[in-house]
Structure formats: C-alpha cells, structure tokens
C-alpha cells in the first residue's frame, strides 16, 4: 500500500542554521503552501516521523544530537538536507567549528540547495524522498526486519 507516499511525517532539526531556512520550512505549513494537502505533518518528535529535515551546517554539538535523533527514528527513514548550509556547509564550510554539511554525519537522501531554501523547492525535495521511503520499506519487509 502506498501509504508512505500519502502520509509522510517529517521532523525538523536546526543543526546550526541562521534560522532563515527554518522560517521557510515552517512557512510551508502556512496557507500559502499548505503541505498538509499532501498529508505532511511537522511532528516535533523523531519517534513519530519518517523524514528528518535538517537545516544548517553541522558542528560538534549538533553532531551528537543529530546522531541521537537519527537513532530515535524508526525505519524506514530518510534525511533531507534543506538549504545550502545543510548540503555542504556553504560559506561556513571552512570554519573551525563546522564539520561540513549533514552528510558529514548522516546519510543524506535528498539535497535541497538554496539560501534560504524556497518552500516550493523544499516541497519538491520532500516529494522526491517519498519513493526512497517506499523503497526502503520494501527492502525492510523483505529482510524481515519489519518487526524487529
């Protein structure tokens, strides 16, 4: 059943963003963009979500948190890097505290560049991640790891 496509719940984490991308992520919930049309809900809780949307580059502190939160997400799960800082670190990549984009820590599935990331682009990015979710689910079922 194509349920992951119809009910992707995401969870948004700010690794070290300036909040510009965060505002755009939340703007997607507003009536202008209304992602709930697609069944997308912004849960604040990794245990409830399928998609982790990360904004901002990763530093040592947020690395710990990212790993912790990622571990609290049940399979199948995808990671979406929103904004160019999350994709690669952008102009902060060479800073002493930034380890790079999210892919320095987690396996990223979709990169959505932009500064700040446009809500339309973000929605596109999330929609692109849905088939990946479905694939992962099928692989999970095949492995029999579905229930454990």
């Amino acid at each position: 059943m194509a349920c992951f496509k119809r009910s992707p719940w995401l969870f948004h984490y700010n690794a070290s963003s300036c909040n510009g991308c965060d505002i755009e992520v939340l703007a997607a919930l507003t009536p202008l963009y209304d992602v709930e049309r697609f069944g997308i809900i912004n849960t604040g809780n990794p245990k409830h979500s399928d998609i982790m949307v990360v904004t901002g580059g990763v530093n040592a502190r947020s690395r710990q948190v990212l790993l912790n939160l990622y571990r609290q997400m049940p399979e199948p799960r995808v990671v979406v890097a929103a904004g160019i800082c999350a994709c690669s670190g952008c102009i902060f990549a060479k800073a002493y505290n930034i380890l790079g984009g999210v892919d320095a820590v987690l396996p990223v599935d979709v990169y959505v560049p932009g500064c700040a990331v446009r809500p339309e682009a973000l929605i596109d990015g999330i929609v692109k991640s849905l088939p990946i979710l479905e694939e992962r689910y099928k692989a999970m079922k095949k492995k029999g790891a579905h229930r454990g």
């Binding site: 984490y13 809780n45 990794p46 245990k47 502190r61 710990q64 948190v65 990212l66 912790n68 939160l69 571990r71 609290q72 049940p74 229930r147 454990g148």
Partner: protein, 635 residues
C-alpha cells in the same frame, strides 16, 4: 453442641490467652513460632465460624457469669482506664486524665443503673454483619500477626531508639484481636463499652510503643479523641439505662424511634462511631497514628478498629433513616469523603495517603449508613469488606518497602516493580483494588452510586456530588502512586532488594484475597449481606454484569501474561530528551556537555490544598452538622 455458640467465646478468649502467653515469653527466638501458631489458630477459628454461621438468622446467647465474678467486666474496664490514667500521669498529660476521670464516672454510673434483668441474658449474639466483621478481624488480623513476627524484628534493627518490648507488642496485638471479637459479638452495651475501651487503650499503647517523643504525643492525641468517643458511647448507655431502662443493642433498635431520647441515644452512638472512624472533625488522631509501626497501622487504623466505628454507625443509623439526624450524619460522611480525598492528593508520605484514603472511604460508609436504605447498607458492608482487605495489604506493602528503601515517600518508590517485584506486584494489586474496576472498591462504589440516586433524602444531590468529585480525586492520587511504581529509575544503584519470604507470603495472601473477594462478590452479597439487610430484598448485584466484570479481569490479567511471554524482538530506543541523551540512559548532557540527572516528580498541589485550613473548616462544618443532629433529638 452448637459450634457457633462455642466458637464465639473461643474467639474472644483465645486471643486474650495467646496474648498473655506472648507476654510471658521473654526470649525472642522462642516467640516467633508461638505467634504464628496462635495467629493460625485465630484464622482457622474465624473461618470455621464463617462456615458454620454463614447465611443464618441472628442468634443470641445468654452468658451467665458466676456470682462471684459478677462485677468482673466492670472491674476489668476500670483497670484498663486506670492503667491509661497512670500512663497519662507519667507523661504529664492532663487532658486525657480529665477525660478518663469523666469516663470512669460515667462507667460507674452506668454499671449501677443498668436494669438487673438485662445483665444476664442475650449478652452475645451473632448476625451476618458480626460474622463479616469477625471474618475480617480473624483472617486479616491473623495474617498481620504473622507479618509482625519478621517485621518487628526489622523494626528494631532500624529504630535503635525504640526500646525492644516486643513481648508487650505481641500481647497488645492479640488482646486487641480479642477485644475486637468481643466488640462485634456483644449485644449488651456494657460489654460492648468494655471492649470498645479495650480497643482504645490497645490503640493508645500500640501507637506509643516506641516510647520516643513523637509517638508518645500522637498516642495521647489518639487516646484523647477516642476517649471523647467513648464518653459519647457511655453517655448513650447511661441515657438508655436511666431513661429507657434497657441495656441491649437489639432492644434499642426495636424501640420506636419517634421518641426523642431513643434518637438521642442513637445519635450519641453514631458520634462515638464517627470518632473511632476518624470522621471530620476527628480526623487528626488517625493522621497522627501513622507514626506507629506498620502492623499497628494495618490492623488498627485501616482494617479493624476504625471499622468498629463504622460498624456501630451501621447498627444504629438505619433505625433513624429519613430523619434530620440521618441527613446530618450522611452529610458528615459525604463531606469527609470529599475533603479527605482532596487532602490525599497533597500527601507525599505514603502512609498519610493511605490514612486519608481510609478516612475518605470510612466517610463513604458513614454516608451510606446515614441514608440507611437496604441498598446503601449493602453498599456499606461491601465497602467494609473490600476496603479492609485492600488497605491492610497496602499498609503492609508500604511497611515492607520502607524497611528496604528507608523511605515512606512515594517519590522514592520509582522502579519498584523491578527493585522489589513481589512487593510491588502486591502493591499494584492493592492500589488497583482501591479504585479500579473490576476490583472490589469500584464494585462497592457502583452500588453506592446506585443507592444514592435511588435514595429520597433531601440531601441526595449533595451525596451524589460528593461521590462524583471524591471519586475523581481518588483516581488522581492512586494513579500518581501507581505510575511512580512502574516508572523507570531516575537514580543509579537500583539493585534488587528482597524481603523475608514470610512477608512476601502474607502480602500475596492478601493480594489473592483482594482478587478472590472481588470474584466472589455475588456470593458474598447473597449469603453474607442480604440476610443481614433484609431477606426480602433482592440485590441488584446478581445480574449479568458479573460476566462483563470477569471479562475485564481476564483482560487485565491474561493479556499482560501473554504479552510478556511472547518475545518479539523490537528495536530499543532511548527516551526523548531533546537529543541530549548521555551514555547513561537516565542522564542528559547539559549546556557544558556534563551529564546531568533527571528529576521527575508528581504534582502534589500543596499550594492549592492547604491541609490545615481544610481540616479546620471541614471540622467546623461537620461539628455543626453533629450539633444539629443532637439538638434535633432534644426538640
């Protein structure tokens, strides 16, 4: 040879003799088995009585003391009072001394004013209510006596400041049981009064057992209040003897209640009962009594002595059903139920929670007795049974836990389900038995609600209101405790603690009894309660709803068992701590990346529930109601 007729004196005298033997045994290592054997004897006798007497009509027994011993009960009572007076002098407590003097005067007056012919006939009796009480006293009292063997040994290891007078403690325990049996089997008010005072003095001595300052103060407080109740009782007896010329309970209840004096006697007895069961405004004595060792609290202050109070109220109030006095008494009970439930929410000390919960449930029983209809009396007796079993279980659990974790605070009982599984399991059953369907107290509350809505008292809406709000508060404070027991630990070092196997056995006996009484409640209703209430009355309980209750019980029991057996592997996740979990699952990393512990506490609303003020105003309200009840008899 009437087995019942011989079991009754046996049940009264055997514990007294056992107590004397326990007093004589000085070497502690010799005392354990006699105590267990005596306790077993009491349990067996009580069960035998149950087997022979269940479902029968009330029987009365003449009891003739030889001429030389004619004044023996009177002398005995004076000796009890004198001993208490001596202790009051030793500790310089003048108010109890004064009350004792009043009581002695009244007792003497009653002794020489009672009509001669009432002295020697129909002294003892047994009906289904007495039998119910006797079963509770015997079975629960017996298991608590067994529990006390190991418990008191641990107690003295924990409390080095208390002088080890365990022979005295065992003596008092058994004497108390004997007095309770005497109380529930007495028809003659003189004997009733004597056993009543006996329980008061035993309670006083058992609370003050450690002989350290705090217990002593509380013991005298308990003595003072209970003496007031005793004075009310004796005063009623005096009026009965002097103006009505009768000395027996059944004769009192047979009188027409139009007569003001009859009503006055009944109200005085009801007040005496309400003092003993710690209704408002008399509640403080029970709270203070919680400093006593656990077997005292479990036996006296939750399952038996305070039940003696409501036993008296249940005996007299139905005769007054529908009158102004009945409305007042019922309202006192309802008010106590509501306020004590509210007060229990604010308590962190487990024994205080149990104390307030006891007071609340006794209030509910008093309210039922006040209404006095068949349904409410049935509800009252059911409440007595279920409450006695569950509450004594809880007190014993708290005692067992206290000796292992050195705390009575609920907040220290987290993860008890893993630290002390058998005790925690029994505690869960006890708590569930206090408020969850399909277990006992819920069934009783169901009957109570049905009875209240059908009652035609002027205050019925108020009773229903008190029940609705009081039950909601009850759920709240029991759930907080239950949640705490099952929540994961917040501190390191949650290793397993164990308690003596004997204690575990006692706890689980009571736990099984809690469940068994709930399963058997249709039988209890049919054979134990209905004959008491009225043989023509058909209880609403005997209905197909029983099936649903059994289903509920099965779900609650079978499902956990099944789910814990199936070992489905699931991925383990850490709790959500905003992503800042430390390596240790119960810690998180703070701003400086240091691991910090988590502190989680229940709500106690201490700011919104001012204990002193609520007790005060509740007391005023109840006192006013009682005054109205008394004055209403005199007009």
């Amino acid at each position: 040879m009437d087995p019942v007729g011989s079991l009754i004196p046996f049940l009264i005298v055997f514990p007294l003799a056992a107590g004397a033997v326990m007093l004589a045994i000085r070497r502690r290592s010799w005392a354990a088995w006699p105590q267990r054997i005596f306790a077993a004897g009491i349990i067996a006798a009580a069960v035998a009585l149950g087997v022979f007497a269940i479902g029968k009509q009330p029987s009365y027994y003449d009891f003739n003391l030889p001429e030389a011993l004619r004044y023996a009960p009177f002398i005995l009572e004076l000796m009890l009072l004198a001993y208490a007076a001596w202790r009051s002098i030793v500790y310089r407590k003048w108010l109890p001394l004064l009350l004792l003097a009043v009581q002695v005067t009244l007792v003497c007056y009653a002794e020489f004013r009672l009509p001669e012919e009432a002295l020697r006939s129909r002294v003892f009796f047994i009906d289904q209510l007495s039998l119910t009480m006797a079963l509770i006293i015997g079975i629960i009292g017996g298991v608590i006596a067994v529990f006390a063997v190991t418990y008191m040994r641990d107690y003295h290891e924990h409390h080095h400041d208390a002088k080890d007078r365990r022979p005295v403690y065992s003596f008092l325990l058994f004497v108390f049981l004997g007095s309770m049996f005497g109380l529930v089997f007495s028809n003659d008010l003189k004997y009733f009064g004597m056993f009543w005072e006996g329980t008061t003095i035993c309670s006083f001595l058992m609370i003050g057992y450690p002989r350290t300052p705090e217990p002593v103060t509380n013991a005298f407080r308990a003595l003072t209040w209970n003496l007031l109740g005793g004075i009310a009782l004796t005063a009623g007896t005096v009026v009965m003897a002097g103006s009505l010329h009768i000395g027996d309970m059944d004769m009192l209840l047979a009188l027409e209640t139009q007569h003001g004096l009859t009503r006055l006697v009944a109200v005085l007895f009801a007040i005496a009962g309400m003092v003993k069961s710690a209704q408002m405004p008399f509640s403080p004595w029970l709270l203070g009594a919680m400093v006593a060792p656990t077997p005292t609290s479990a036996l006296l202050h939750s399952s038996t002595m305070v039940k003696a109070g409501v036993y008296l109220v249940i005996r007299v109030m139905p005769a007054l059903a529908g009158t102004l006095m009945a409305n007042c008494v019922a309202l006192v009970g309802a008010l106590t139920f509501l306020l004590a439930s509210v007060l229990a929410v604010a308590q962190q000390n487990a024994k205080r929670v149990l104390a307030y919960s006891t007071i609340a449930n006794l209030g509910l029983i008093v309210a039922c007795a006040g209404v006095g209809s068949f349904e409410t009396i049935e509800a009252a007796v059911l409440l007595i049974i279920f409450h006695a079993v569950a509450k004594s279980l809880l007190f014993l659990c708290v005692g067992a836990v206290e000796h292992r974790i050195d705390s009575r605070d609920i907040e220290d009982m987290d993860w008890l389900i893993v630290k002390m599984p058998p005790v925690a399991g029994a505690m869960v059953i006890g708590i569930a038995g206090m408020f969850l369907p399909p277990l006992g107290m819920l069934i009783s509350k169901w009957v109570v609600l049905g009875a209240f809505v059908d009652s035609h008292m002027a205050i019925s809406p108020l009773l229903i209101l008190a029940l609705a709000f009081g039950s909601a508060f009850n759920v709240f404070f029991w759930m907080k405790w239950l949640g705490k027991i099952i929540s994961p630990p917040l501190a390191q070092g949650s290793s397993r603690e164990s308690i003596p196997r004997e204690q575990t056995a006692v706890l689980w006996t009571l736990a099984l009894l809690t469940v068994a009484t709930c399963l058997c409640f249709p039988l209890i209703s049919r054979y134990l309660i209905q004959p008491f209430v009225n043989s023509a009355y058909i209880s609403k309980l005997a209905e197909p709803n029983y099936v649903i209750l059994v289903i509920m019980l099965l779900i609650m029991v079978v499902l956990p068992a099944s789910l814990l057996i199936t070992k489905k592997r699931a991925r383990r996740m850490s709790p959500y701590l905003s992503g800042r979990n430390a390596e240790d699952p119960i810690q998180f990393r703070d701003t400086f990346n240091r691991p910090q512990g988590i502190a989680l506490k229940n709500y106690y609303f201490a700011d919104f529930i001012p204990e002193g003020r609520i007790l005060f105003w509740g007391g005023i309200g109840s006192a006013v109601l009682m005054a109205i009840a008394v004055l209403g008899c005199l007009v």
